[in-house]
């Protein structure tokens, strides 16, 4: 392995990898505030809308991560994952034109909020063999927000 490492350093394009730091931690770390705590500065006025609206907005923000693979606009093309327009309460594996895994197609699931919650928490535990291999959301509150957002995207 040592030999390989030094050989690797011969390839100039990869020099940076050979000179990697031993990753020192901070010399000085000033923690002004914990990440979850409210800022000392006055919070911006809450946007108008009820709690449900806020939840959907939170879900929409969190969905940005999902949007790398999933479109939500009506008739938008499938990405690496199927379009999720009006997906809630639809049978699994039925979005036109998407190449589902056999496992998902055969799952017999209907995408209720509860089923979505279980799937998003750990897709391959819920449906072994699914090709959704990334994008799991560990945080239950974030999942609820994302599902609320998906529920808000309907044909109506």
């Amino acid at each position: 392995m040592k030999t390989l490492r030094s050989l690797a350093c011969l390839a100039p394009i990869l020099l940076a990898a050979c000179g990697a730091d031993p990753a020192p931690g901070p010399v000085e770390q000033i923690i002004v505030r914990e990440a979850g705590a409210k800022t000392a500065a006055p919070a911006p006025a809450a946007a108008t809308g009820d709690a449900a609206g806020a939840l959907i907005a939170e879900g929409k923000a969190a969905f940005a991560n999902c949007s790398a693979c999933h479109a939500v606009a009506k008739d938008a093309p499938n990405g690496a994952g199927p379009n999720l327009f009006a997906i809630v309460d639809q049978p699994a594996g039925q979005v036109a034109g998407f190449a589902y895994s056999d496992a998902l197609k055969a799952s017999g699931i209907t995408w209720t909020a509860a089923e979505l919650d279980g799937f998003i928490a750990d897709p391959s535990a819920k449906i072994p063999g699914t090709t959704m291999i990334t994008g799991a959301i560990a945080d239950a509150a974030t999942r609820q927000a994302v599902i609320a957002y998906l529920e808000s995207i309907t044909a109506n």
């Binding site: 390839a11 770390q29 056999d102 063999g129």
Partner: protein
């Protein structure tokens, strides 16, 4: 080494003796075919990993066929605007006879199984020839080496000519043959009577026609074709076509995700400032103001840089700007631009007539020069250059519970993953690297400094952090194209024919052939280099060493032509005599430009010719010198990359290389004072503006379909010398130092 060729020798290059094909079934529904780089069939081992979901996706494969007759091309390279997804998918789909409208694209995960074996080979053993008998051992060795090097790398203009030519086409052809064999068995007809087209399997005699998907499972049971037959160019249906780019719709409608778009729930933002002199450390930081500023969560002195973590990027950057930082002294503090060039000169002087490291030597250059009737000498200089990618450097990282996730756009995802693992103090397997589109790479994103910094910050905070560099940081903390000096001595005989060529230059980085001129027929030549230490970080910059040597060599050829009393085009024709393929490229560019025809006062034409990365490119530039500064009005390009897979994409690469190279020729300069980079943003490191862009005309030549060249870089090296040669033609002033903004032509 003796050759014990067992196949049709050299039929499609060398892949037949190098590749091993594997096939398998994923999740019971798809045929998966890959070109493995060692004996055995790793797909059987890898498929369950995908199916049971216990591991991240692992497919040592380049193609999948699923039950809906969708063909998926798995692309082991990253998309940074060069169109690689589309070109590689074209190569696979064509060999497979797939329906282009039903081809999907998947970027390979950052996994060591996807290292580019074919790239590793060309880097390390460019002329490797081994008997078929020993091939498995050699291939296995290469895989190990390539894995150690993390060569899942996009750069060196390698994707199409290496991965495409050796892997994607082979995988497509193998998949097709296996599908045909499966159908032949089912239909009880000879395989030779079966044809394929548009993802369908057809038998004319019986009128049978079924989609690929019908035989996907049965195909996976077929024995693997050891040497699938690749198409010859007259049978190409998708290769050679300007297929629409797969990545563009998302870039137009805004849905495309770049590294900087990473969005992780709970994520905070970091702004960073590294020590302005490389090697210096933070001695003290006064964060009195910063800690009272809105949104600020943490202020970190990381030793070599300072970081502020806040709720938003702007808050982090503003707080960072308020911090007063003192840095340690280093040896580099006194470094100035002039001193650096003086240091180059000293080393070159010390090397004298015979010192330095000889790169190539042929004939007796001393004798040739001594006997020459006309002697020409010149010295050229180029400055450091930054990459200035449109998307600023960034990385998002989350280190928690013994795991690490990293999001960015990187040219070598396996390297990035390893760098994050090292920085987090975790094993490679505990890091998940999520790659996205690159908003410009140009070599900058082959470095992992941003990955390491973000991971260190995330490790310190414990929550996900997106680190974004300001443009000032991007400009001042790049890995630069080195500044360089190059000296030449050339000799001409009584007929004005070049007989000796001697060059000594600073630095040699990559590719090793950049300073050499084997295509020019000169009786004696000797090329040497001297290494001069500087503390600035070097990095590959689009076309790498060709970016400076293209300018040096083609300027000096022009000076020799002038000394010989000859036209630059005619002089190069003489030097290329006996190389019809080279001549055709040169002639095409000259003819397109109307070379020799009259131009207005203070207008000029210049020609330059640079083969690089396996492609041959000639350019003619026209300049208008009637105003206060040079205006490049037109550029004619002739390019022969062997065979053009996607003409529109290749043409775009020629055009963008001219934008990038002309920017550098006109303005590009990173200068050093007191050890610090002087430039900070686009006001002092300007880019070419749209009103300065010349009209570009590109002619493509398919000169050798068996040996492909690259597309991303070869358009760049000729532009600077084509322009400076044109300036000489227009004004009589020879430019020997870039950028042009240093010079007055009034």
């Amino acid at each position: 080494m003796s050759k014990t060729e067992t196949g049709s020798p050299g039929k499609m290059g060398k892949w037949t003796r190098r590749a091993f094909i594997g096939a398998g079934v994923v999740a019971g529904s798809a045929l998966v075919v890959g070109v493995a780089v060692r004996p055995g069939n790793p797909i059987d081992r890898l498929s369950p990993m995908l199916a049971d979901g216990k591991d991240e996706q692992l497919l040592n494969a380049w193609v999948k066929v699923d039950a809906d007759n969708i063909v998926t091309a798995v692309i082991p390279h990253v998309e940074m605007g060069q169109g690689v997804y589309t070109a590689l998918a074209q190569m696979l789909a064509d060999e497979m006879d797939a329906d282009w409208n039903k081809v999907q694209i998947l970027e390979a995960p950052a996994d060591k199984q996807y290292v580019s074996d074919s790239i590793g080979r060309d880097f390390l053993f460019p002329d490797l020839e081994v008997p078929a008998l020993f091939e498995p051992t050699v291939a296995g060795g290469i895989l190990e080496l390539a894995q150690a090097m993390g060569l899942q790398f996009t750069g060196g203009s390698y994707s199409v000519r290496a991965t495409g030519q050796r892997a994607m086409r082979t995988a497509g052809a193998a998949a097709r043959e296996m599908l045909v064999a499966a159908a032949a068995s089912e239909w009880q007809v000879p395989a030779g009577e079966i044809t394929t087209a548009d993802s369908m399997i057809l038998h004319a005699g019986s009128g049978k026609a079924e989609p690929f998907s019908k035989f996907a499972l049965a195909a996976a049971e077929q024995s693997l074709p050891a040497k699938p037959t690749l198409k010859s160019p007259e049978n190409y249906k998708i290769m050679g076509q300007s297929k629409a780019r797969h990545d563009i719709p998302g870039k137009v409608d805004g849905s495309a995700i770049f590294g900087i778009d990473a969005n992780v729930p709970g994520m905070k933002y970091a702004a960073v400032k590294a020590a302005p002199v490389v090697g210096a450390t933070v001695e003290s930081m006064d964060a009195t103001t910063a800690r009272t500023m809105p949104g600020v969560l943490q202020i970190l002195n990381m030793g070599d840089f300072v970081a502020v973590v806040a709720d938003g990027y702007w808050q982090a950057q503003q707080a960072l700007n308020s911090i007063d930082t003192k840095y340690s002294k280093t040896e580099g503090d006194s470094l100035d631009q002039e001193a650096l060039f003086a240091r180059y000169a000293t080393h070159l002087d010390e090397a004298g007539e015979n010192g330095g490291d000889v790169e190539t030597e042929e004939g007796d250059v001393g004798k040739g020069f001594a006997e020459a009737v006309t002697k020409v000498e010149a010295e050229y200089k180029v400055p450091f250059l930054a990459h200035a990618t449109m998307e600023p450097m960034n990385c998002t990282a989350w280190v928690r519970d013994g795991k690490c996730d990293v999001w960015s756009g990187h040219q070598a995802p396996v390297n990035a993953r390893q760098a994050a693992a090292d920085a987090a103090g975790l094993a490679f397997e505990d890091v998940t690297y999520h790659n996205a589109f690159l908003g410009g790479g140009f070599g900058r994103r082959s470095e992992s400094d941003n990955i390491i910094m973000a991971t260190r910050i995330a490790k310190a905070t414990g929550y996900p952090v997106k680190m974004i560099w300001s443009r000032e940081e991007d400009t001042a903390q790049d890995h630069y194209r080195p500044s360089a000096t190059s000296r030449f001595q050339g000799g001409l005989d009584k007929d004005g024919k070049a007989v000796s060529w001697s060059n000594i230059h600073t630095h040699l980085f990559d590719p090793k052939d950049a300073p050499t001129v084997p295509y020019y027929n000169i009786a004696s030549h000797k090329i040497r280099k001297v290494d001069v230490p500087t503390q600035l970080r070097f990095g590959p910059w689009r076309s790498v060493d060709h970016s400076q040597h293209g300018f040096f060599i083609e300027s000096f050829v022009d000076e020799m032509a002038h000394a010989a009393g000859k036209d630059g085009y005619a002089f190069r024709r003489e030097l290329l005599a006996g190389s019809p393929r080279h001549l055709k490229v040169l002639d095409t560019a000259a003819k397109m430009s109307g070379w020799g025809s009259a131009l207005p006062e203070r207008h000029g034409r210049g020609i330059a010719f640079v083969p690089s990365f396996g492609s041959i490119v000639a350019q003619v530039a026209e300049v208008d010198m009637s105003g206060p500064k040079p205006k490049v009005t037109k550029v004619y390009v002739a390019a022969d990359p062997g065979f053009v897979i996607n003409p529109d994409g290749f043409t775009a690469q020629m055009e963008s290389a001219i934008v990038y190279g002309l920017t550098a020729a006109l303005y590009g300069e990173i200068s050093i004072k007191n050890g610090e980079v002087q430039q900070s943003n686009f006001h002092d490191y300007p880019m070419l503006r749209i009103n300065e862009m010349p009209e570009v005309e590109v002619a493509l030549i398919n000169g050798d379909h068996k040996r492909l060249g690259g597309g991303g870089e070869p358009g760049l090296p000729p532009i600077a010398p084509a322009v400076t040669n044109a300036i000489f033609a227009a004004t009589g002033t020879r430019v020997r130092e870039l950028p042009l903004s240093k010079h007055s032509f009034a």
